[in-house]
Every structure is written in structure tokens, then in C-alpha cells.
């Protein structure tokens, strides 16, 4: 049985093949039990719309990433700051957003707050909502990353006479990056997947496009299966990049 635990090349290949076969067999058997057949031809007919939806998802994700990073950093800084009013505001923001489901936030912000303040454009609303949502989670990641820096580091920086700016740039940031990069990349991956919920307000991104197509051709399984593959095309490279970055920035203390 050591073929399953040995670290030789043949062991790796054999086990990888076995794992792939197990998953494929499970899916194939499930489909067989239902007696249905798959027909993926619609992808060619609808390729333009799918392409547009894919592009929209990528665009929304990138815009939201930038905005949510800004929001998260701001909220983290305010929360650990000295001005109590701002500290409480940041706290309320983080607790509320982290404590409620995204679907509810989408409906609340789009139909009530968005309408009240005149934000008509769906895509803009979607980006704002998604950034606010992910920003709260990023704030927590940053807070945790900062808390992991040893207090002695900060004391040493003071002892050496660093200004605040120098402390942040030379002591805090390098040490924080290693700790926050993996969860941040994970959060970005979540962001891409959470953007699918913007279909609730009819933002024509990938999930909404697939939903509309499946409503026309009744090929629910093929549509959503293909949708899964497209999302994997976005998230798998991301997790690969994340692992590379992790290796690059990890340094021994």
C-alpha cells in the first residue's frame, strides 16, 4: 500500500490519475442514474454573450478589488486609530457587513439606499456594493496581519528613531505582506465568486448571462457546469499566483 504514500514520481502520477478517475466516475454515475444526456452545442451559438458576460465579471472584479482594498485599509486604520467617533463608525461598518448576507446587502443598497441617493447605474452600484462587502473582510485580514507583528519590532523601530512613515514602510509592511497575502488572495477569489450574486440586480455578468441562456434553452446542467468551468478559469490561476507570491514573500525570522 506504500504506492499511495511514497514520494516517487510514479506514485504522484498514479495517485493523481486515480483521484481524477474517482471524480469523473462519480459525476458520470450520477448523470447515468438520471438518464439524461448532455448537449453543449449552445456554447457556440451564445459565445458572444458569454464572452461579454465573462468580460464584465473580470472588469467588476478588478474594480471591486481596488476599491475594496482601499476601503479595507481605511477601515482597518480607522478602527485602530485614536479618534473614537471614526473608530466606532469603522466598527459598525465591519460588524454589519460581515454579519449579514450579501444578497440582503445587494437588495438593500440597490433598491433603497441607491435609489435614495440617485445611484442609477447598475454596474456602478454593483461595484460599490461588492467593494463595501469585501472591504469589511479585508479590514479584518489586515487587522489580523498587523496584530501578528511582534510588539518588540515596533519598540525597536521607536528605539532606533524611525518616523511613523519609516516604521510603516520598513518594518510593518514587509512583515505584514507575508501574513496577509494568502488570505487576501483568497478574498479576491471570493470576490470573483461573490460577483455572481450581482445577477440579482440584473448586472449582465457571467452568472446572469448563463441564467438568461438557460431560461431560453432549458439546458440548466450544461449551462451551470460550463459556468463552473469559466469561474475555475478565473480562480485557479489566482490561487496558483497566490502560492507563488507566498513563497516569494515568506522569509524566516
Amino acid at each position: 500500500m506504500t504506492i499511495f504514500t511514497r514520494k516517487t514520481k510514479t506514485a504522484y502520477v498514479l495517485n493523481a490519475v486515480l483521484a481524477a478517475v474517482a471524480v469523473i466516475t462519480l459525476v458520470w454515475l450520477s448523470v447515468l442514474r438520471l438518464g439524461i444526456t448532455f448537449d453543449f452545442r449552445f456554447i457556440g451559438d451564445f459565445s458572444k454573450r458569454i464572452g461579454l458576460g465573462f468580460r464584465m465579471t473580470v472588469e467588476i472584479s478588478i474594480c471591486s478589488l481596488v476599491l475594496s482594498l482601499a476601503a479595507g485599509i481605511l477601515a482597518a486604520v480607522l478602527q485602530s486609530g485614536k479618534i473614537l467617533f471614526l473608530k466606532y463608525l469603522a466598527s459598525v461598518y465591519i460588524q454589519f457587513i460581515r454579519g449579514t448576507p450579501l444578497i440582503m446587502q445587494i437588495y438593500l443598497f440597490f433598491y433603497i439606499i441607491g435609489t435614495a441617493w440617485g445611484i442609477e447605474n447598475r454596474i456602478l452600484s454593483g461595484i460599490l456594493i461588492l467593494s463595501a462587502f469585501e472591504g469589511a473582510y479585508i479590514a479584518e485580514i489586515i487587522r489580523a496581519g498587523f496584530a501578528n507583528i511582534e510588539k518588540t519590532q515596533l519598540e525597536a523601530a521607536r528605539a532606533v528613531g524611525f518616523t511613523r512613515y519609516q516604521t510603516v514602510r520598513l518594518v510593518i509592511l514587509p512583515q505584514m505582506i507575508a501574513g496577509t497575502l494568502p488570505p487576501l488572495v483568497g478574498q479576491f477569489s471570493s470576490l470573483i465568486k461573490d460577483s455572481s450574486l450581482l445577477s440579482m440586480i440584473a448586472v449582465i455578468e457571467l452568472t446572469q448571462t448563463m441564467r438568461e441562456i438557460s431560461a431560453l434553452n432549458f439546458r440548466l446542467f450544461e449551462c451551470y457546469f460550463f459556468l463552473g468551468i469559466l469561474y475555475l478559469a478565473l480562480t485557479l490561476p489566482l490561487s496558483f499566483i497566490g502560492k507563488q507570491l507566498e513563497k516569494r514573500y515568506a522569509f524566516e525570522y
Partner: protein
């Protein structure tokens, strides 16, 4: 043989055996055997469409389609199990065998008929428009202009009609009827294509912000009961039941119970009533 090879062989044998067991218990998608006649019939509907399909205060299914389904159960001597399912999931439920029938005020269309079998029509299906007051819409064609926004519910005949005919307008496809109504009320959409009854009810609820347009603008369409493709036995039973129910005044009783107000309004407007298939 040494221990390691014996163990590997045993492991593989167990896997193959398990695989055989799993593949042998295949579920047959088509109900054909007589032995299943006495089993409960699973009917799916989207319980978000009062007064046809909705829930009572305790969360139990109630409405015209529910009573209709139960009457069918009595007619063929089987229990009826009603399962609440989202609209886009109704036909997939039938395709995969999770359900036996769809009675959800579903319009008979050519595209749907390719994947399911429909019964004879049991009601008329006519679209109306819930329009925003400030959009100055008097007929359907007014919405077919650049810059006009039309809200529709995903998969409904309003969706099908709008995507096929309203080519100049922006179509906003949403999952819930209530979201579509909210869009019109708030002015985010200029019109919402849906059935006349719901349009009427929502207009009554939002008289300050909406108007209702009932002028018929499409070919006549009907509602039908859907069964799995090839399930001819059940289909024949349904067709016989519908004829029986109609001649026995069943639909009149349902109208009296759930829709008496609306029938009076429709008579006043001069519209054909749902169940009047003449």
C-alpha cells in the same frame, strides 16, 4: 504473495465491488410500471404567484393550482405531494425525475414543448404591462425604443416576448416578480411584462406610481400542465381530468373561491376570463 500486494488487490476489489453496487441501483427516469400507480404524485409549482400558487399563514401550499392538483389526485386516486420550486427549476425537476407534473400556471410554448409534454390548455395566458406612470406608455410598442427599460421575470412568457420583440429596449431579467415590480415602482424600469392578473393587482397596490396596460399585444396563448416527455399514461389521465373538471364547473368554483373580485374587474374591462377557453 507478500502482504503489500494482497492488500492492494483487496482494496481494488472493494472499489470495483462498490462501483458495481452503485451503478446497478440506477433510477429509471420514466414512470412506466403499474406498481408505481399508488405512490404519491409529486407536483411542483412556484409558490410565489398568488392567488394561483401561494402559501397560507402557516407556510402550507394554497391557491387555485393547489386545489386543482388535489382535485386531480382525487380523480386518479393518488396522493398529491406539492413541492415548492423556483420557476427556472421547474422543468429541470421534471427532466431529472424529481417531480412528475408541473402545475404552475405555465404557458404552453414551442420551446418548452421540445423538452416536456403539455396537456390540453386549461386557461388563457395573456400578458399585460405594469408601466411606470412617468414613462407615458400607452401600448406595448411604446416600450420598443432605445433607452426604454423593460423588467421581466427570468423564464416567463414576458421574458420570452420581450427578448424576441422588444429589440431596441434594454431588458432587465430578474428572478423575482417582486423585484420586477419594485423596479417599475421606483422608475428603474419603464415597464414589466407579466400576466394580466398580477399586473392588475400590483397596479391596485401602487396607484400613485404605476399604470396598467391591458391591451392585448400578442397571439393567444394558453396554460397547460406539464409532464415528462414520453409519460403518455399520466398525460392521458390529465387530459381526461381537465375535460371533466371543465364540464363539471370546477373552474367556476375556483374563480368564485379565489378570484371573484378580479373577475368583476375583468368583466368591467371587457377582458376574456382566464378559464373561458371558447
Amino acid at each position: 504473495m507478500n502482504v503489500s500486494i494482497k492488500r492492494t488487490a483487496a482494496f481494488c476489489a472493494v472499489m470495483v465491488y462498490a462501483g458495481c453496487i452503485v451503478s446497478c441501483t440506477r433510477r429509471n427516469g420514466i414512470t412506466a410500471s403499474d406498481a408505481e400507480v399508488k405512490e404519491p404524485l409529486t407536483v411542483v409549482m412556484e409558490l410565489a404567484y398568488p392567488p394561483f400558487e401561494t402559501k397560507d399563514a402557516d407556510g402550507n401550499p394554497t391557491g387555485i393550482s393547489v386545489d386543482f392538483a388535489r382535485a386531480f389526485g382525487t380523480y386518479i386516486g393518488r396522493d398529491i405531494r406539492i413541492v415548492d420550486t423556483q420557476w427556472d427549476g421547474l422543468i429541470p425537476s421534471l427532466q431529472t425525475g424529481r417531480a412528475d407534473m408541473i402545475i404552475s400556471s405555465m404557458t404552453i410554448t414551442a420551446a418548452r414543448s421540445k423538452v416536456v409534454d403539455f396537456s390540453v390548455p386549461y386557461a388563457n395566458s395573456l400578458l399585460g404591462i405594469l408601466a411606470n406612470r412617468e414613462s407615458c406608455i400607452t401600448k406595448a410598442e411604446d416600450l420598443n425604443r432605445k433607452g426604454m427599460k423593460i423588467a421581466v421575470k427570468s423564464g416567463s412568457t414576458g421574458f420570452i416576448f420581450a427578448t424576441e420583440n422588444m429589440t431596441h429596449a434594454d431588458i432587465i431579467t430578474l428572478a423575482d416578480e417582486s423585484a420586477c415590480v419594485t423596479e417599475v415602482v421606483q422608475g428603474k424600469a419603464d415597464g414589466f411584462f407579466y400576466d394580466q392578473l398580477t399586473v392588475y393587482r400590483n397596479w391596485q397596490a401602487h396607484q400613485n406610481t404605476t399604470t396598467a396596460i391591458f391591451v392585448p399585444f400578442q397571439k393567444k396563448e394558453n396554460w397547460g400542465v406539464a409532464v415528462r416527455k414520453g409519460d403518455t399514461q399520466l398525460l392521458e389521465q390529465v387530459n381526461r381530468f381537465i375535460a371533466d373538471f371543465q364540464s363539471g364547473g370546477g373552474f367556476d368554483r375556483l374563480t368564485e373561491k379565489y378570484l371573484s373580485e378580479e373577475k368583476k374587474a375583468f368583466d368591467k374591462f371587457g377582458f376574456k376570463w382566464f378559464f373561458d377557453l371558447s
